[in-house]
Amino acid sequence: MSFSRKMAWRNYLVEGFLILASLLIILPLLIMLFGSFMTSSEVLKFSLRLPEEWKFSNYTTVFKEGGLGRAFLNGMLITGVSSILNIFTSSAASFILVRRETKWSNFLYMFFFMGLIAPMSTITTIRVVQWMGFYGSITSVILIYASLNTAFSVFLYSGFIRSIPKALDEVAFLEGANTFDVFFKIVTPLIVPVNATVAIMVFMSVWNDITIPLYFLTDSSDWTMPLSVYNFYGKYSRDWNLIFADLVLTSLPVLILYIFCQKYIVSGLTAGAVKG
């Protein structure tokens, strides 16, 4: 009895401490959110308070001045296509890598795995894309994101596919199916949860990135949202209300995705990172 009472006290103590600590996370985000509705002079105090008057017009101003409509569509195109490409190529490759337990497939697994470790060679990647004749294009950026995420996706898929019994494939093969049938009709339906995880992880990292567009998108009409926001931040350095509105707008897509898909993030991390 006294033991469980002691436990309860300890839990209250921990809970109180964690709630206090969570304020450290919430307050800066609220300063941004509330600030995005203020006037440009009111926001300059950068302290936590509700706006005197909620100025929704900041958002329409930002959307027009920052050219965000175009940037949103660019971001959707780049993020969407590179995620789908990455999901398809990485899951197919992982299936074979896991199932063929040969030296060659082990070598290829390590070859992909090195991509998790090695940093990207930006300057020579530009060179390679120039040789191929499409430097500065959205296509080049899509292919670069697909290749950059290959290592992490193969790592996640391999961990999961290893847990699918091989007997399933064997039965199908005996019935006369080929590799493609087995992959598309048996394995693909089983890895839907990992597809969701990879889609979310790739979507978030690509949507939020500024490095690749900075180096590879030479024409500002091709820019994604964060890079447009960075440019806007440089130009409107006095209007923090507009800057904050811009930041909120660029965060909305990932926030919505996170709210609807959070269970896949955790299950994917468990399957891939912790058990894999």
């Binding site: 921990v14 964690l18 709630i19 600590a21 969570s22 996370i25 800066p28 300063i31 941004m32 950068f46 490409l85 190529t89 990485s90 197919a92 490759a93 299936f95 074979i96 199932r99 063929r100 337990e101 040969t102 070859f111 998790l116 470790i117 090695a118 940093p119 990207m120 060679s121 930006t122 300057i123 020579t124 990647t125 060179r127 390679v128 292919l143 697909a146 290959t150 091989k166 494939d169 064997e170 093969f173 590799t179 493609f180 939020n208 990135d209 500024i210 490095t211 964060p226 926001v229 923090w240 800057i243 930041l247 660029t250 990932v254 926030l255 991390l269 468990t270 990172a273 912790v274 058990k275």
Partner: protein
Amino acid sequence: MKVSKRLYSYYLIWPALLIYSVFFVLPALTGLFYSFTDWRLDREAIKFIGWDNFERIFTDRTLLLAMKNTAIFAIVTVLGKNLLGIALAVGLNMKLKSKNLLRAIFYSPSILSVLVISIVFTPMLRSDGTINRIFEAVGLPSLSQAWLTNPALVIWTVAFVSIWQHTGFQMAIYLAGLQSISKEYYEAATIDGAGSWRSFRSITIPLLLPAININLMLTLIGGLKVFSEVFVLTGGGPGNASQVVGTIILRSFGEGSWGLGTAVNTLLFAAVTVIAIPLLIFMRRKEVSE
């Protein structure tokens, strides 16, 4: 009833292998070659110059400072993100009423862009900014600092912002690890008279090792590759006080000294590999022993 390996067609590997090889591996290999040349934007002819680029890196004060800053950033963020990440995960694995809400709050900054968080922190870290005003309000004016303009402090400030943003991600991996530990171990330990610290040391830490290893590797590699935080918060300044390897590469690219830039990248590649491979081997050994 063994199925022939030949049934698993290698064709399915090709698309991933092709994209990965052309846009990741090929640039890495050509980078290795260009590191030893005087490749410049404004010159057609490329000359092989041996180790000159590397000699320059190790004698140039800015470049040395950039490497030192990268190392500081990596070590500080690895320690900060993992110690705080474990602490948060252990706390939020207890029976708390608000645990789901708190988990979501701590995780939330890591889904946002580094750009967003860095811009939000910029006005708060100024000398007259929110953080210093809070210190003054609670009667600790001696703690207020020129967070982003003091050369001795700036890289630590950038590391702090990164810890603030990403610890929640590490926490999520640790939570997943904690939830895979069976409660029976703890019950047995309690019956044997072990206190909570003893249980933590002898049960939690050993069984959490896979998660610890993956987190150490992710934070270390991420720390050595740092770019966006510095680019947005300080641009490498004041002066060159917060330059890191990532910003030096951007600068070399802008200046057109591409041979030097690729040499810096090659050095980063070497450093990451030399540190990460032993960690990986350690991880594999752990996996076997489990």
